[in-house]
């Protein structure tokens, strides 16, 4: 190997290895066969999951604790990760849901209050693989690479890469796992309104984020949070003026029982029952309940920079996106009296639905941001106004 020439005059005293010199002790293997070497940080344990990339440059605490990332290994396109300490306010749930992090550079942040990203990973028992050229990896994923992947140590294995590729190929697919059951609240609970109570709502928890709960509660909604398998009658028993179908992880197409419940709730809403606001997974379940189809995107939306057009008003908002699956715009939606209310301006993806009755609305993006902008937070105000009227 070519080395920097050594001369007596400038030879420094032996110092410990600087952080920028990577000693590869871990690898990332994709089911398609590509293997990249990097350095294991956080908890030095293997991980498997679906690789997705996010273009958000900040917000690691929010990302790791967002239940929607369950089952996924998150690739950060921005090369410098962990630059600041993460405070408790940035936690979206009580624990980390992502399976692992793939980064170019994991920074040890300056001293101060809060935890470092690496401390958070270690406590959660998940690894990060550092030293990966995440742009190259992102281009590979964008190019259609299959997304099951494995992170593991290389140890003394000569054929660790091959083995890891095999492990990736034999791992469970993201679609096959019931991620929602793993992240939903096990029992009902009530979140009081922050400030004056203006309405009562039920939130069906498929994997809700703290920021969403806060965004609703600060608007005066008292929230009864129900588990993902709550029935339509369970919902009705709480006597809500508004039903919120929360975001969550996984493929909605496999959630037959929840889809049936949502269909009942929708029928009741159209007939004058409580109105419904669906967000992300909740939006997808509404579409499936209406007979529409969903499909996994070639490249999922993860980040805080996409613009969404609200078709009725012509308003454009930058929003936080986090979805692998999209609702397909087809005749089924029209037949069920749904119209596309929002579209992504980058790729035309359906980003919102509105029922002709005016009693059901849904958005695919995250009006609560976290991480990312909350420019479209009026979605909540509109839903609340409808519920109060």
């Amino acid at each position: 190997m070519t080395a920097v020439p050594r001369t007596e005059r400038t030879t420094p005293p032996a110092t410990e290895r600087p952080a920028s010199f990577l000693f590869p002790d871990g690898l990332l293997a994709l089911e398609g066969g590509s293997v990249r070497r990097g350095r294991l940080r956080g908890a030095a344990v293997p991980a498997e999951g679906d690789l997705i990339f996010t273009t958000a440059a900040t917000g690691w605490g929010e990302i790791l604790t967002d239940p929607s990332y369950a089952g996924q290994i998150v690739v950060l396109t921005h090369p410098m990760a962990g630059s600041y300490r993460i405070s408790g306010d940035e936690m979206e749930s009580s624990r980390v849901h992502a399976r692992a992090l793939v980064v170019t550079r994991l920074i040890t942040p300056p001293a101060g209050p809060g935890r470092s990203l690496e401390e958070m990973l270690t406590e959660a028992g998940i690894p990060a693989l550092e030293g990966i050229d995440t742009r190259a990896l992102t281009l590979e994923l964008r190019g259609g690479a299959a997304r099951r992947a494995v992170i593991r140590g290389v140890a003394a294995d000569a054929d660790a890469g091959l083995k890891a590729v095999e492990e990736a190929r034999s791992s469970a697919t993201w679609e096959s796992v019931d991620h929602v059951a793993g992240v939903s609240t096990p029992c009902p609970w009530v979140m009081p309104a922050i400030g004056e109570r203006r309405a009562r709502a039920v939130l069906v928890d498929y994997g809700v984020k703290g920021s969403l709960l806060r965004a609703l509660a600060t608007r005066g909604l008292e929230l009864t949070v129900l588990p993902h398998d709550a029935s339509a009658d369970d919902v009705a028993a709480a006597e809500p003026e508004l039903v919120i179908l929360s975001p969550g992880p996984g493929d909605p197409a496999r959630m037959a029982s929840q889809i049936a419940t949502v269909a009942q709730l929708a029928t009741r809403a159209i007939g004058g029952g409580p109105r419904i606001l669906g967000i992300c997974l909740g939006h997808q379940l509404l579409a499936l309940a209406a007979g529409a189809r969903t499909q996994r995107l070639a490249v999922g939306h993860h980040g805080g920079n996409h613009a969404v057009l609200e078709l009725s008003s012509g308003r454009v908002d930058i929003g936080a996106h986090n979805h692998e699956v999209t609702v397909l715009d087809g005749p089924e939606l029209i037949a069920a009296d749904y119209a596309v209310s929002h579209r992504d301006l980058n790729d035309g993806t359906v980003e919102g639905l509105a029922h002709a009755s005016g009693r059901i609305a849904s958005v695919q993006f995250h009006p609560e941001g976290a991480p990312g902008p909350i420019d479209a937070a009026r979605v909540f105000d509109v839903a609340l106004a409808g519920a109060i009227s």
Binding site: T2, R135, L139, L345, N346
Partner: protein, 935 residues
């Protein structure tokens, strides 16, 4: 809104500190965008060294004074029905407001496009702005608008803390300042009241030490508002952002804080109802829990140019279309072509901007940095991580010997007491190097640096990390050093080997950078932007090459003596190359410029202009196209020409030029020999290697004499000695021996540009200097064609230039400076490259001089490019150039003229007769004189 028919675009005039090439970039983008929509443009600017003032860009171009009177006349003559005021910097904006105040716009039926002037006034009037911002619940620093010193002092006493004084309606913070004591405050307020054209200053609580964050925001008439880029100043509040190291995207703030600041910026732009681009500056308390709105610039700016280059999102072009009433969501995505322009760029790299200051030319100037901008230019670098981007930015500002390792022995680090580190680390042009030196020698750690300077610990820790890496470099794999960002020259210096040895080792081991695409979306979508940066990372899919490539080496950051004129030349060269069906490849690192717009060329490499990066791009282009690229150095000023020798060592042929020819012109002894051979008179002179030899030479030649070192740029190190006292004071300075001592030839100084195809030559035009020889030609008023010389003498002068070009074996362009006294023509110097006079000649003649020169350099004959041999006939118009300076901004600089160039920019008067042209030029220059600066 009905589309306008003809739009008046106001340029920003000459380059001054605080207003540089960024407005040529903005104006070019705007004009091309408007004309692309079928709208005619009328462009007014007094600065001839701009791309925008070429008719194929600006449409109807009026080169003349930027004054209300002149603009009124232009409006009456050309009858535009609309005005786009937000692209010409503060100058353009102020003129639009003045035209409106004078009733000219209403009288002539000219409506204002984009941001309404009411919004401009609201943003610019500090009292009104403050009320507006607090009205929407956003915090501003406690402040008072005062018109008398007494009122100001009463407020300062009430606050009981340090304050900042900002005069209303001035440029780049002119006349403002920081005051820690009541006495200082009194002085600042009095000064500020004088500097403000409306006699009004804002006295506000100083936020010294808070972090400074900027957002570039775009809004359209439908209220779609997007933040294109958030940027973080490494230097905390107290240093003008133009003098600050700037990093994008924001690195140190948590997402909730970034989002809060972004929301604040968007809210302000919305309440102001701006339609177009806007810069919002915010201060954040280091703990992130509190912030203040500092100011808003309701126009494109230096920061928006930086944001455009940092993200690949062309803010000015989109802002111009928004001004026409287009909606962001209806415009196509400018980078990917699919989707819409309504998105916020995501970047997967780090951008670092370093300012370039004129202190190398003015060692006596006060080098401290504050809220008054002192930098003349800037360089930007892109890499995957902060460290490599910073190291690349250091290489890009061309600090002449000030690489990463530079330390000034005068710092006396080893015997510096801990307690005077405060003064040692006060904001200055060398603070970065001072911090690195302290870290390197273990005299301070990152946290000590941060607590002294207020710089966020994240940054000082990155510096410490780089120092740590530097320390462990020897014996490590070379690839590690390159990945960490260390340049070949730095690695060589650390290892004690010549730089070429590092390159050789890299070539042997196949260690070369990959070129990454700036795509606005962090790889999420396919993009075709031909915009690249190097990184020691995985190879990316190569872009398509259409044919053999021609590399145009740019001129880097703007500095005194190397200004926007070389950007004009580089851009015209790239366009001419593209028109020839070849791939025009540009290497440059100045984010302000047109040449670093990826639309201006086939492929743009945003790189340092040192031998390492230029050779890397050459190798990459060779691999891409399968052929060695042509390399054009003649349009990038001295920066590009300085690469010739090392390129020759690397066996890279230079289009139309040899390193030998450059050597011949720059080694004054050899040049004198060449002139002798050609029978051309040169000044009598000799070389002096010691003070004794200097005295002997002066005794023989007789005073006055002119002394200079070889390899000069902008007259650096040149001095005129008129008396024994001058000789003594020269000898008291640090001199780079040997010096060439020449007689001062009296007469009329000429600037002659010749184009040569190797067989024939032509001279498109001759500039006559109106100041006496000894005044640097860049600082002299000049006229084209010469007014005091017969055509016969002019032809003789042209022939002298032509003969030198032929003798040098040149194809392309040559600049010769000569002095004519009677019939005698004495050659002073020759530069085998485009000079600062090229754009003036081009504007006066209305012909593309650069295209002819670059085509000749690539092998065409003069006949093929449409020029007759010999001195071209006089143009219909007389052109008078006048210099404009901004050295009043630099305390400690003597403003007297001499052989050391002092002006930062220039204006042109074009008219049928000399007196008219002269009057126009003087009026144009007067519009930018210090007193009128802000008007």
């Amino acid at each position: 809104m009905t589309a306008p028919r003809r739009v008046l675009v106001i340029g920003s005039g000459p380059i001054v500190i605080g207003q540089a090439a960024e407005f040529d970039y903005a104006g070019v983008q705007a004009c091309l965008a408007l004309r692309g929509e079928g709208v005619e443009t009328v462009l007014v600017n007094s600065n001839p060294a701009t791309v925008m003032t070429d008719p194929d860009v600006g449409g109807t171009v009026v080169i003349g004074p930027l004054t209300v009177e002149h603009l009124t006349a232009v409006i009456e003559e050309h009858r535009p029905d609309a005005l786009l005021p937000t692209l010409g910097g503060q100058t353009g904006l102020n003129l639009a407001v003045a035209l409106d105040d004078a009733g000219v716009l209403e009288r002539s039926g000219v409506r204002v496009l984009g941001t309404p002037l009411a919004a401009v006034r609201a943003a610019e009037d500090r009292g009104g702005f403050r009320a507006l911002v607090t009205g929407i619940g956003e915090p501003v620093p406690e402040s008072a608008v005062v018109e008398t010193v007494e009122d100001g002092l009463r407020f300062v006493e009430h606050l009981g803390g340090p304050v900042v004084v900002r005069p209303a309606f001035t440029l780049g913070g002119g006349g403002g300042g920081f005051a820690a004591t009541l006495a200082e405050a009194r002085e600042r307020i009095a000064h500020g009241l004088k500097a403000s054209p409306i006699g009004q200053v804002l006295v506000e609580r100083s936020l010294l030490g808070w972090y400074e964050i900027e957002f570039e925001v775009l809004r359209d008439a439908a209220d779609t508002t997007i933040a294109i880029c958030g940027m973080e100043n490494l230097d905390p509040m107290g240093v003008h952002t133009g003098d600050s190291i700037v990093v994008a995207p924001i690195q140190t703030l948590p997402d909730p804080v970034v989002q809060r600041l972004r929301r604040c910026a968007l809210k302000i732009v919305r309440v102001l109802r701006l339609e177009g681009g806007c810069n919002v500056q915010l201060a954040v308390r280091p703990d992130g829990d509190d912030y203040r709105v500092i100011e808003v610039n309701p126009r494109v700016s230096r920061s928006s140019a930086l944001a455009s280059k940092a993200t690949g999102y062309p803010i000015a072009r989109v802002a111009a279309l928004v001004a026409l009433g287009k909606r962001l969501d209806e415009l196509p995505n400018p980078a990917t072509g699919i989707g819409s322009a309504a998105f916020e760029p995501a970047v997967d790299y780090v951008v670092v901007k370093l300012p370039r200051w004129p202190f190398d030319k003015f060692p006596a100037a006060d080098r401290s940095l504050g809220i008054q901008m002192k930098a003349t230019g800037e360089a930007m670098a892109i890499d995957r991580e902060f460290g490599p981007a910073l190291l690349k930015a250091i290489r890009s500002v061309e600090p002449r010997g000030r690489g990463w390792l530079w330390e000034d022995p005068a710092w006396g680090l080893s015997h510096r007491a801990q307690e005077d580190l405060d003064a040692f680390l006060a904001p200055s042009d060398t603070r970065l190097w001072r911090m690195v030196a302290l870290l390197r020698h273990g005299w301070a750690d990152a946290s000590a640096l941060s607590s002294i300077t207020g710089i966020a610990p994240w940054f000082t820790e990155r510096l410490a990390e780089l120092v740590e890496t530097e320390r462990g470099l020897v014996g490590r794999p070379l690839l590690d050093a390159k990945r960490a960002g260390f340049g070949d020259a730095t690695v060589a210096e650390i290892a004690g080997v010549p730089p070429v040895a590092i390159r050789r080792a890299r070539v042997r081991a196949g260690i070369a950078p990959a070129y990454r695409r700036v795509d606005t979306c962090a790889g999420e979508f396919p993009a075709e932007t031909p915009y690249f940066y190097s990184s020691y990372a995985d190879e990316e899919v190569a872009p398509l090459a259409n044919g053999r490539s021609v590399i145009v080496v740019g001129s880097g950051p703007i500095r005194i003596g190397q200004g926007i004129e070389f950007d004009y030349c580089s851009v015209r060269a790239a366009w001419a190359i593209r028109a020839m069906g070849l791939d025009a490849v540009v290497i440059n690192n100045n984010p302000e410029t047109v040449s670093t717009d990826y639309d201006a060329c086939s492929r743009l490499y945003f790189e340092p202009l040192d031998i390492e990066s230029v050779l890397d791009v050459i190798d990459h282009e060779r691999a891409l196209t399968g052929e060695p690229p042509h390399v054009v150095l003649t349009f990038g000023g001295q920066t590009a020409i300085d690469l010739a020798k090392e390129l020759a060592y690397a066996d890279v042929p230079i289009a139309g030029l040899t390193a030998e020819a450059i050597e011949l012109t720059e080694d004054r002894e050899r040049f004198a020999g060449l002139l002798d051979e050609l029978g051309i008179a040169g000044p009598r002179g000799q070389l002096a290697a010691t003070p004794e030899e200097l005295r002997a030479a002066i005794a023989e030649i007789g005073l006055p004499v002119i002394v200079r070192p070889s390899w000069v740029i902008g007259g650096r190190g040149i001095a005129v000695l008129r008396s024994d006292a001058d000789v003594a004071s020269l000898l008291a300075t640090e001199i780079g021996w040997p010096l060439r001592v020449d007689e001062m030839v009296e007469g009329i100084e000429l600037d002659v540009d010749a184009i040569c195809d190797g067989v024939d030559w032509c001279v498109p035009g001759i500039l006559e200097q109106l100041d006496a020889p000894g005044v640097h030609s860049g600082d002299s008023v000049a006229v084209l064609p010469p007014q005091r010389l017969s055509r016969h003498v002019q032809e003789r002068a042209a022939a002298v230039a032509g003969r030198i070009a032929l003798a040098l074996g040149l194809r392309g362009i040559l600049n010769v400076q000569m002095i004519v006294s009677g019939e005698r023509v004495t050659v002073i110097e020759a530069n085998p490259r485009a000079s600062r006079t090229v754009p003036i000649v081009a504007k006066a003649l209305g012909r593309d001089v650069v295209a002819a020169a670059v085509r000749c350099a690539l092998g065409a004959s003069l006949a093929e490019v449409g020029w007759q041999p010999g001195l071209a006939p006089d143009a219909a118009l007389v052109a008078v150039k006048a210099p404009v300076g901004s050295l009043w901004r630099l305390p400690g600089v003597d403003a007297g003229l001499g052989p050391e160039m002092r002006s930062t920019g220039e204006v042109l008067g074009l008219a049928p007769s000399y007196p008219e042209a002269s009057a126009l030029a003087l009026a144009a220059a007067a519009a930018h004189a210090p007193a009128a600066e802000s008007g």
